[in-house]
Subunit: 374 residues, 2 copies
C-alpha cells in the first residue's frame, strides 16, 4: 500500500438463494454500489453464475449453506419456493430478508389467501380442497366456473385446472393430485395489475406506480407502466394493500402483489416476496430500479426514488432468442438477456421500451412482441 | 438437452485491453445484451476483474495476447496508451476497434494537433519542442503564458508546466525531460465542453448532446449534461468537428473530444478514442449509454438513441469513498463505485443526478460534491 493510501470502507456483501435471472439482475444492480453478491444456484442455473459468484448446492446441504452465509451482511432469495427449513437455518446465522413469515405466507396459496384476509385485503372467494367431498361443497358455495390450484409450487399457469361445471370436478381433482389444493372463484375483472413496493429494514417505504400486465398461456408477456388510465385513487388503493402486507410482516425488500381490477375495486391475486417480472421495466423506466432498491432495502440503506420516467412497456422474450440486430434496430429498445439456453416456454430475457409518448411506446412494444414471437 | 430445446444463437464476445473502470462499465453494459467481455488487466487493476473475466498480462506478452484474442469477435481498449505494436499484433488476428489510426493520432499530442489541423478542426496554437532553441522560437511566436506538455502519457493534468514568462522556459523544459514536448498557447476560453460521438463499423453515426466540464487540479470533477445554454448552432459545431474526425479515421466505437468554447467558437483540445469520463452521465441520463453504444458500434449492431432524458450532472468520487448511506440519502443519486482501493487523486467512482429540473439537479450535484470532498 502506498503512503497516500486511504482507508477502504467496508462494503456490504449479500447472498442470494437462487441463480436465475432475478439473481443475475440483482448482482448487476449491486456492482455500481460496491455491493457484491454470492448466489446458491441449482445445477441448471446459468444466469447469475455468468455475472457473479455462484455456489452450486442443494438447499438441504447445510455445510455449504453455512459456508455460503459466512461473511455476508444479509441473505435474500429470488424465489418463494425456498424450503422454510433452509430459510430458518440461514436466519440463525445471518439476517434473512424478506422475513421468513413472508416466505411462509407466499409459498402456499391457502396461507396467502388467509393472510390477505387477516390484513383486510380482498381476494377472490376460495376454499381449501383435500377431497371430492369438500371440493363439491366448495363448488356449491363458490359456483362455477372456478379454478382448482395446487397450494404450492404453481407458477406461470402450472398446477391449475379450470372447472367449468361440477361434472368435471373429479377429473380436475385427480389431475392435480387430489389433496393440498385450493379452489378459487372466477373474478370478472377488467384487467390484471400489479404493484411493486419496497420497504427498508428501517421502515422507509416506497411504491412504484401500478403496472398493467398481459398474460398468454399463463405466462407474463407484456407489462405497461404506469398502467394506462391510472388514477390517484387506484394507485392509493394499491399502495394501501401493499402497505398492510408490508407492515404486518415487518417486511424488508421488494414485494410484488398481483391484483385484479374489477370496476374501481382491486382484489389481491397473489404476492411474491421478491423482485418481480412485472417490475423489470424499472431498470430504465424508473429513477431507481426494483433490483437496486431491493438491495438498499435489505441492507437498511436509504431507498431510491421510485417514480416513473415517462412511459414504459416491457415485453418478455420467451422460448427463443431473437437476433440481436432485429431488436436493437429499435433505437429506444433495451434488451436484457439472461444467459439461458433457449427452451419452449422459458423466460430468456425481456425488452423494455421507454419514452415520453405512451402511444408510441406501446406501438414499438407491439412490434417487438411480433419479433419475439417469430 | 431436452427434446424441446431451441437452437441457441451465437452471441458476440469482445475483448478489452485494460482492466480499469471503463472496462468494468463496458462489461456491465454487455451482460444485458448477452455480450460477454474478456479483459487484459495490469497487476494493480481491480475494477474489471471484479465483474468479468480478466487475464493479467503485460502488453508485450504475445503468447497471452494471442490466446486472449482467440474466439473474440472484436478487441477494443479503454486507454489510448496502448503500445501501437500491441494493437498491430492483435489487429492481425481479430477486428480491433477503434482503428489503429485513432490510437496513433491520440496518444501523441503533436500528432493529435496535426491530425485536427488536417481535417480542418481548429486548435490552440502549438509547436513541437525538443530543445531550448525551438522552445524559445515557439514562445516568441505563440507568446506567454503558454503550456509545455509531454507529447505522450499525460493525463489528469500530469506532464504539464505553465510558462508564464520566457525567463522560466528552461526550468519547465528541464522539468519535463527536455525533449518530445509540445508547447500550446493559452486559449482564453469561457468554458470546457466535450462531445461524445459514436460511429458503427457500418457507418451509422450518433452524437450525445455537448457536456460542460469542470476540472480541479487537472482532474474532471463535474460534468453537466446537456451543457447549460446549449444552442443548436453550438451542438452542430461540435458534431461537425466529431464527424470530420470519425470519417477521416473510418472510426468505429465511441469517440470523445474535449473542446474549449471561446465566444461562439469551438476549439478542439484533445480526443480520446474510447468511452470517456465526461460521458458517464449517459448511463442514466441518455436513452442508451456510451458503454452500450460503444459495444454496439464495434460489433456492427444498430446504435441506440443518444438523446438526453431530462438533465444530468455527474460528480467524480476522487481519493476517498464516502459512506454509502450519505450518498444514497439523495433518492435521485446514482452511485457508481469502481472496486478500487482509495488513494489520493484516484478516480474511485462517480455519482450521477438526473431529473427534469436543471436547477435542482445542479443543486443536488453541488451538495454531493461537498459530501465527496470530505
Amino acid at each position: 500500500m502506498s503512503s497516500n493510501a486511504q482507508p477502504s470502507p467496508v462494503l456490504p456483501r449479500a447472498g442470494v438463494l437462487g441463480g436465475g435471472q432475478l439473481g443475475r439482475m440483482l448482482s448487476l444492480a449491486g456492482y455500481p454500489l460496491g455491493i457484491r453478491l454470492r448466489h446458491i444456484g441449482g445445477p441448471d442455473d446459468t444466469s447469475a453464475g455468468e455475472v457473479a459468484e455462484e455456489v452450486k448446492a442443494g438447499y438441504d446441504d447445510r455445510e455449504t449453506l453455512a459456508r455460503f452465509a459466512n461473511g455476508l451482511n444479509v441473505v435474500t432469495y429470488e424465489s418463494e419456493n425456498i424450503p422454510l427449513e433452509t430459510a430458518e437455518f440461514l436466519a440463525q446465522r445471518v439476517s434473512l430478508q424478506p422475513p421468513i413469515a413472508a416466505l411462509a405466507a407466499s409459498q402456499d396459496r391457502l396461507h396467502e389467501k388467509r393472510f390477505f384476509e387477516s390484513v383486510g385485503v380482498q381476494t377472490a372467494p376460495y376454499a381449501q380442497v383435500d377431497s371430492i367431498e369438500n371440493l363439491n361443497r366448495a363448488l356449491a358455495r363458490i359456483g362455477t366456473p372456478a379454478i382448482l390450484k395446487t397450494r404450492r409450487f404453481g407458477y406461470d399457469g402450472k398446477g391449475q385446472a379450470v372447472i367449468r361445471d361440477e361434472a368435471h370436478a373429479a377429473d380436475a381433482l385427480h389431475q392435480l393430485g387430489g389433496t393440498n389444493l385450493i379452489l378459487e372463484g372466477f373474478v370478472r375483472f377488467e384487467r390484471e395489475l400489479s404493484i411493486i413496493a419496497v420497504r427498508s429494514t428501517n421502515g422507509e417505504t416506497r411504491f412504484y406506480p401500478l403496472v398493467e400486465n398481459h398474460h398468454e398461456a399463463g405466462i407474463l408477456r407484456l407489462s405497461i407502466a404506469p398502467a394506462p388510465e391510472l388514477t390517484p385513487v387506484l394507485q392509493q388503493q394499491g399502495e394501501t394493500i401493499a402497505r398492510r402486507v408490508l407492515e404486518q410482516l415487518d417486511y424488508a425488500g421488494v414485494l410484488a402483489i398481483e391484483l385484479f381490477q374489477a370496476g374501481d375495486q382491486l382484489l389481491a391475486n397473489e404476492m411474491a416476496p421478491r423482485v418481480h417480472n412485472s417490475g423489470h421495466w424499472t431498470i430504465e423506466g424508473a429513477t431507481v430500479s426494483q433490483f437496486e432498491n431491493h438491495l438498499r432495502a435489505i441492507l437498511g440503506l436509504p431507498l431510491g426514488e421510485t417514480d416513473a420516467i415517462g412511459y414504459s412497456a416491457m415485453v418478455n422474450v420467451i422460448g427463443t432468442i431473437p437476433a440481436l440486430a432485429a431488436v436493437l434496430a429499435f433505437p429506444e429498445a433495451h434488451l436484457h438477456l439472461y444467459g439461458k439456453q433457449p427452451r419452449a416456454n422459458r423466460k430468456l430475457g425481456h425488452i423494455t421500451v421507454r419514452g415520453d409518448d405512451p402511444v408510441r411506446v406501446r406501438a414499438t412494444a407491439e412490434k417487438l412482441r411480433e419479433i419475439v414471437r417469430t
